[in-house]
Each structure stands twice: as C-alpha cells, then as structure tokens.
Subunit: 620 residues, 2 copies
Amino acid sequence: MPPKITTELLRQLRQAMKNSKYITEPIQAYIVPSGDAHQSEYIAPCDCRREFISGFTGSAGTAIITEKHAAIWTDGRYFLQAAQQMDKNWTLMKMGLKETPTQEDWLLSVLPEGSKVGVDPWIIPADQWKHMSKALTSAGHSLVPVQENLIDPFWTDRSARPSSPLIVLGLNYTGMTWQDKITSLRTKMADRKITWFVITALDEIAWLFNLRGADIEYNPVFFAYAIIGRSSIRLFINGDRMADPAVKEHLQLNSSSKPEFEVQVLPYESILTELQGVCGGLGPKEKVWISDKASFALTETIPKIHRSLTPSTPICLAKAVKNATEIEGMRRAHIKDAVALCELFAWLDKEVPKGTVTEISSADKAEEFRRQQKDFVDLSFPTISAVGPNGAIIHYRPLPETNRTLSLNELYLIDSGAQFKDGTTDVTRTVHFGTPTAYEKECFTYVLKGHIAVSAAVFPNGTKGHLLDSFARSALWESGLDYLHGTGHGVGCFLNVHEGPCGISYKTFADEPLEAGMIVSDEPGFYEDRSFGIRIENVVLVVPAKPKYNYRNRGSLTFEPLTLVPIQVKMMNTDMLTQKERDWVDEYHKQCREVVGAELERQGRHAALQWLIRETQPIA
Amino acid sequence: MPPKITTELLRQLRQAMKNSKYITEPIQAYIVPSGDAHQSEYIAPCDCRREFISGFTGSAGTAIITEKHAAIWTDGRYFLQAAQQMDKNWTLMKMGLKETPTQEDWLLSVLPEGSKVGVDPWIIPADQWKHMSKALTSAGHSLVPVQENLIDPFWTDRSARPSSPLIVLGLNYTGMTWQDKITSLRTKMADRKITWFVITALDEIAWLFNLRGADIEYNPVFFAYAIIGRSSIRLFINGDRMADPAVKEHLQLNSSSKPEFEVQVLPYESILTELQGVCGGLGPKEKVWISDKASFALTETIPKIHRSLTPSTPICLAKAVKNATEIEGMRRAHIKDAVALCELFAWLDKEVPKGTVTEISSADKAEEFRRQQKDFVDLSFPTISAVGPNGAIIHYRPLPETNRTLSLNELYLIDSGAQFKDGTTDVTRTVHFGTPTAYEKECFTYVLKGHIAVSAAVFPNGTKGHLLDSFARSALWESGLDYLHGTGHGVGCFLNVHEGPCGISYKTFADEPLEAGMIVSDEPGFYEDRSFGIRIENVVLVVPAKPKYNYRNRGSLTFEPLTLVPIQVKMMNTDMLTQKERDWVDEYHKQCREVVGAELERQGRHAALQWLIRETQPIA
C-alpha cells in the first residue's frame, strides 16, 4: 500500500489553526493524540483522528503539527509500519532511541517565542496535559484547550459514533446485581469522604451496570459516562438504547425502585454541563473522585480543591477481583476455548502437510471453531497467526501481502482469544509441524521454564505483579537472551482482554498488589528477528497457596491456569527441564486431558479428542 | 533507661512558636524532621534535634508539635524503642499500620482553620516540602519556612558542628584527580546546557575533591557545600581545615593553577548568599542543577525557571561506578576485613564454650582485629552483634542492658564493617557454636539459596537492581517465609556504607540501572521474632558476564563477591541445595581459602589460617 497523501489535509488543519471560528488566537502547534475520550486502548473508527490526518494506523502514536512541520512519535513495534504508511510531509520520531527528542523538547526547539500549542481537551488525559503544560510554560509558551476538534470539520467521511444494542447480563453471569455494586461503591465513597464519583472508562461503566455493548471492535463496551452520588445515579448514554425493554427492566427505569437506585438517563454529550452543575453545588469539604487518567476537559471542570484523583478507581479494583460466579464463567469460557483450539490443532496436523493452510485461513478456522461454542460473542482481539519470521513481529496481524503458508519447516505462533458471554480468553501456542531445530527447541525450553517459574511461583499476599516479572526471564537471561515486552496483563470477564490495575511487567511500579480472584496472563516469549517467534501464554487465576509456614499470618498466593491447551512436547528439550518442571508439564497436561477431554467427549469431537490424548502423554 | 522528660522542652518550643523574635505570625504546628541540611543518613550530634526534643534516638522519625499535641512518626524497626524512650507528652504514630494517619492527614484533623505550619527550610528536603505544602494548602492551611531553627535557642548544651581534620587521598586510592573529575562533570553540564551545579550531599563533595573527613561517626565526610560553574569552583567549608598544608597543596590553593581549577574557599554559612548572587546573574536560558532531595532553602533560592532538579546527580552516578583503582582498593580492603573476621571466628570457636564472650565483647574483639589491619580508619557502622532473639531485631545494637552471652545453644549474627583508606566493608555472618536445630538449618538454607540466586544471577546490561530482589526471596516464599527489608544497597569506596543510586530492593523503582563497576550488598535474611535472626551478607561487584548468546548486543552482567569470609557449612541442610548451589558454595570457599589464606599466611596468623582451612572444606 502506498503512503497516504496528506498535503491537502495538513493545509486544511493549518488553516483551522488560524481560524477564529475555532480559536480566539492562532495556535502555532496542534497535538493529535491517538486515544478517545475514555482512555480506551482500542478505539472506534470515528475516534481515529491521528490515523486520518497521518495515514499511520498503529495503535499507539501522537501527531504534532506546527506551521512548518508534522511529526509522529511512536514506539519500536511500529517504526517500519509508520515509515511505510506516511508520506513526506511527516517526520517519524522513533521513541526509545537516544537521538529522538521528546515531544516537549522538539516543540521547544521549533516553536517561535511565546507560542500557543492547542489540543483537544477531551482526548488528552489530565496527567499528560499537566506534564506537557509544565514543559511549555517553563519555556514561555502555553498549552491551550481547543474545544472543537480541529480535524473533524474537514473529515468529511467520518463515521458516526457507534451505538450498538446493549446486552443485559443476569446474575448467573455477574454474580452481583448492579445495585449491590453501587452500594459497595458508595461504602468506599463514604470511607473516603467522597460525595461524587465520575466514571469515564468504558469497561468500568459496563461492569458496574452489568451491561455490555459492541461499540468498539473486540471490546464489549458502549460509549457512556456515569456520575454516581451518595443517593443518585446519572448515566450519560446516546441513542435509543434505553428504549430496549430488557434494558429498561434491568435498570428499573419505569418501576418505582428505591430512590437511591433510580437511574437518571441523560444524553452522552451532556456530561460536561451536568458535571459543572454538580460542581457548582458542592459544599466546602465535598470531594469528587475521578481517575487521574480522565480527560483534561472533565478533570479541569472539578475545582482543584474538590478534586480527588486516583490512579486505580474503586471500580477498577473491584472489577479486577473476580467473584465466584465470574470465576466459574471464566473457567467455562476457557474450556470452550480449549475445545476450539484442540479442533484447530487436530485440523492443522492433518492439513498443514498438504501445503494449503495460510496464516489467514488458519486464523479463520480458529474463529470458525470458536463460533461453534455456546455464548460466543466475538474475538477478544485480532488473531496473531504468524509463520516463521512473521512470528518475530510481536504485534503481527496477517495481511494478504504478508500471508505465509504453514509448513513442516517453520515455527507457527498463534495468539488468539474470544469473548464469550461467560468470559474472555487469550492464549498463545507455538508449534512445529515437522522437526524443530535444536536451537528452536532450546529457546522454546527457556521460554517454557520462564512460563512455569511464574505459573508455579508462591509469593506472599500483597505482592505486586512486577516483582514476579524476572522469574519469567531468569532462564533466558542466563543464556544471554530476553524479550522486550511485559510478562502479563489483567484480563476482564467478558470485558477488555487487557485491563488494569494488576499485571506482571518490569515496566510498571504502580500496579496494585495481586490478590486471590485476580486474573492475569503469563506470556513470556523469545523473538529471533527475521527468523521465528516463540510465546507461551496461559491466562491464570490468582489463588491462595498453602505452603509449609505462614510468616506473620500474611498468607501466600500462587496461580492456577485457566487456559487448558496442551503445550507441544515436541518443542521441548526435556533434558533442560528440572524434575519439578517436568512434573508441572505432566500435571498440566493431565488436567487438560481430563477437563477438556470430558467436554470434547460430550460434544462428540472425536478427532480433536484423539489429538488431545496424543499431545498430553507424560514426557517420559 | 527511663523515658526523657520533655514537658519543659515542649513548653519552651511552644513559646518559640508564638515568639515574634523568630516568626512574623504565630504558627500552630512545628515539624522537626530527623535529618541534617545534607540529607545525610547518619547525622552529627549537633543535628539530632528530633532526638533532643523527644528523647527518641532512632535513625528515622519525624516529630510534629502543635499547641496541644506532640507526635512522632517512625517505622516498624523502632516501635518498641520509641515507646520506651518517650514520655507521656508524646503520641507514637506507627507507620505502616493501616490505622495510623499520615502526617498530613493527622495535621488536617487537629489544626484549627487557616493554620500555619512551620519547618526549618534547611532540614526539609524540597520534595517533602512540596508534598506537605500541597496537602496543607488544599485544606486551607499553609506551610511556612522558619529561618531560625526553633529548638536551637533553648538547646543549651548543643555541641558545636564538628570540624575534623581532612584526609587527602592520592591517585593510588582514587584513580582520578579531582581536576579530572571536575572536567568530566563539566562535560556532562555542557551536554545538558547546565551553567551551575550545586552540590549538597556530603559524600559527593568528599568524592569529587578526593578528600575525606570525620565529621559524622562511621562516615568519612566533612560539612561542606560546593558550587561548580563552567570555569569556577566554590567550596563552602568551615574551620581552619584549609590551613593544613597538605590540603592546600592538594587543592592548589596557593599555586598558580589553571584558572578553571582555582578553588575559591568560602565560609560554610555563606552558601545561601553566594547562591543568591549566582542566581541573580543568570542569563535567560541558564540552568542550575541541584538534587531533588536538597533542602527547600537552597532549592527555593534558584528561580523555578532556572532550576533543573535531578533524582540522581551526575556525581552520584559517577561515584557509583568504581574505577579500576577503586576496585583494587575495595578488593584489598575486603581481604584485610576477611583476615580480621577469620581471627574473630577462630577466637570465638575457642572462647565461646567458656561462656565468657558477650555480644559487646565479641563486637569489641572484631574491632580490635580490624584495627590491626593497614589503613584502618574506623568502623563503617555500629556493629550488630546479636545472640538468639536479639538477632531478630534487624537494627539491633548491643547495649549493657540487652547484652547476651554467646553460647553453644543459640544462633549468633554479626553484621559489621570497616572504613579502610582503600575501601569500605560490610559483611554479615550467622553461625552456631553448638548444634543448630533442623528448623534453624532449614531457614538458613533458604536464605543461602536466596543469597546465591542473586550473587550468581546473569542479567542484561541496563537491568535495574529492583528486578533482582525477588530472586533473593523465591526459596523463602515457596515455604511461606519472607523478610521485611531490602536485599542490597550501594556501597561507597572509603565513603558511606550506604550510597545510591543503585541497590536491590522491592521498595524502589527509581534506582539507576546496574552497570559494571558498581558495588552493592547481597543480604537476604530471615527473622523469627523472639527466637533468632539469620542474615548472609556479601559485598559484590557488578562484572560483565559472558553467556552463550548476546541478544541485541546488549551484553550481560553478573556479580563477583568482594567479601571473602566462609559461610558456615554446619548451618546448611545440604540436601536442600541443588548441584549448582553446592558448586557455588565450594567455589566460593575455594576462593576464600586461596586469597585470604595467602594473606593470613603472610601476616603469620596461623590459628586463623587453620580455622579458614577447616571452614572451607568442600561440602562433599
């Protein structure tokens, strides 16, 4: 694909930067972040403004346009892609390289004295605003909020904001009514002397109200805001979605419910004026809770003296610790997912030797098998289906022009997952259909050792996930190898496949401590550029452990795999495994055989069952 | 010891808080931090104001006095001690317990509306000021700097600020002239477009000028400030120390040196006015570098627009990476230290069965043996000599009233170190003179496994120390055990035994990456309250490692023990060790025998040599 021609678009944007229709004084630079107004990781097409103006489609990247320059900052995953997708109007700023200036430093170097830099206050998170504003102010410039987005006026074919029908989740899926969730939230608000809580993250709103949507691909969320008071509930949501009788009944919109659970439904766009109203009526000591990652527009509306910023909102924390019903749902979802993957691998074993299976057709087949399972809703992210060298591209997605054929000679990595009504899955397996080289097996075994070291780790209650990250790397490090991504992320329950506030990564320190009921991924890897990629990923549940002692009564935790898909023994150099590691593999495979085997039997999937039995034999 | 009676002292302080001689408007609270004006960990007697006003002698703790209350915040190490040392005027605030309010929250709960809270701006670090000021301001109060310390006027027997003679260190100890250090610093200043660098940490000044002092016990530093410009050097130092001909010659105070190395010597107290002068003459884009932990008084003097705060100063970083001469000095110091400890342990083996050795006499004996070694200057910290239950008190220091006798029945933990002119040492060994219980051996072996896991770890260049912390705990965690302190700290070279900016701890995230030449301690432990304490500590040097592969040419690192003192095999349950761990122990002991054995031989210390040979036999 040739790069997008952006000359005319940039001309129009630069005109808007001087147009008194949008701004009181001309601005000398305009920042286009890549997010939406809800800090979503995945965004809807109508929010892809950075992509529209630059042509660069990657998931992360910020554009800055001045009168003379246009530049994009993105990270190592996207250097090649960004360079291919952007025309000569754009300068690519490769983040992470020493010679690359930060956005602030670059602005200071190109701006004329006393410049104004504009940004859409709905899209820039308050913490980023603060950082950028400080840097600009200290050099005599200023950061100004431009209320109307400057790209929208000339984005003529911009699609409408999605407004998909809502799914109501019953107690059998959620384990807790939305009223009980609100009550629990209000208790936390009272503890902290908080009068109002402004919810901006889409998955938090979906979780709180036991509703799901389909406004963003792969993410079962819907565009909304909410303001929860001590005795009032305001839900800001567009469209006729509230007309659905099931939703009406669920939220008790007609019935005479208790006044503290009466949901006031307001237009999505009215959040700002309503929040202004709320803030206007605040008593001297009243506080409003909001995430420190919320938009500058909403954050700034709350007077500083009434503002209580929090890195992990109480809903984010409550959502992360799954209740018994959610855990059972996640277990069911992972068994169904394993059934689909056993079918896929059995099918691949048969078809790959014929030379007819490609990355794309394999991914399609995986989706086909998943769709056959009960309560399937969607995939949970675009399938990474990667043969040989494509496996070394960590966020690879097969396209017709890169599509390789699965063969007996190259490694195959498939990272895929689904949204079921009872849970979200995410699993990666790396397999060989012929005979792997000794080096491939060696590297695979280091990764496996790391996977087991995390999965079998016992650690005190209250340990933060980032303290476990090195366990996953130790075997690789000892041989001089490593991988340049985190080891695990939180996983939602029929919600976003990536969620906070816990995870396992060397990159964060502000993660919340792990506790029983949290669910994270365990996915170390190794990538040999231009050759192959290896990743072994299970979703695991944090569970209490019962070691010999119990120091200071703190209690201990460990992980229990929810993913139950065999790990290819052919890829292991079993001589490199300790007895403990061999036992772990055998025990894991025994569980796969018993639990998934029973379900395959029940569903009458005999070929897949044969494959499962063959792949779960003890490693001798 | 009975608690200190503080009624009269508090009365006088509360009077001062309203006395217009010191303050323009009365203050409703006064904060007494525990530090000095240089953020020193250990402080001189004249700076122990918090101890003077409260009676509490611990190394960490902040006092806050209001019109009606007096409270002290300290951490778990000191709960018991603080409770014993303070009278009923004081409330002990146990940090780390959930029910304990923070200093800010407590102030907000007790202060009348619109209160003023005072603090000595020379003692409070700028980052703490900012934090406290923000909390107070947001509740309608204010934090105000009180220029004259309010305790000094009635602290009648306050000692003078020490002014010990200086020691000049030659190239044979430092490996680099102070002029070359200044040149290197100026290069870094030029890179960052910095015009002035204000040095406030005492060890940084000592390192930069290749001088040592004895103003603070155990820390070979001297009270001073320095301001380094692109072509000027100002040293702020009191007393007649500059009259010493050796110092004069070293700093070339008389000789006509190059103008950019001319040292202008100014009175210690004149730092503020000189810095004001410097700031008054700054051009519009000129920047002044200062540590973000420097005092509020100095930080505030630099106008915000010219201020460049840094968490790790360039000197802190340069000092952490030891050069070849410093490394050789550290090696020599550790061999001498091992000689002294071999003497001690040989002597203890003979004397303990007689029942005449106490914690204090053993510590004294260790000091006596160290003093016999060449270039001995002082201990590097108060010796922790602890029998049985005293070993469970992590920062124990034997006192006549707690002094236990070493016996054949209890564990003995000794954590000690020295300042030699060529290096600083810090070593902990835990030994049994009779027959340890199976449980004591089990716990010791977990700690040993953790010690080895860190010491033998291979990790990529650029890894931060906090990522290695869990390696030290893994074996303990697996059995439900843990220890509540970090695993390692940076160690100076004939400087502070604790230094930044690197270390190995779960508590920090802002540590600087480890690099070859850095020196840290490796000291996991286990403490059974009221029973025993175990710690195994070596000082280790970061060295390049050469594993099989070299991913992305990053290179790998590992540790090499500088401490060469046998680890008691009797305490090990060798069945719990892997072959790799046994090999590590044998190889370590072989090195102790060869290197320290040769020195014991040379010094004619035959009994100690016999002990060393006996204690370093392979573990079979």
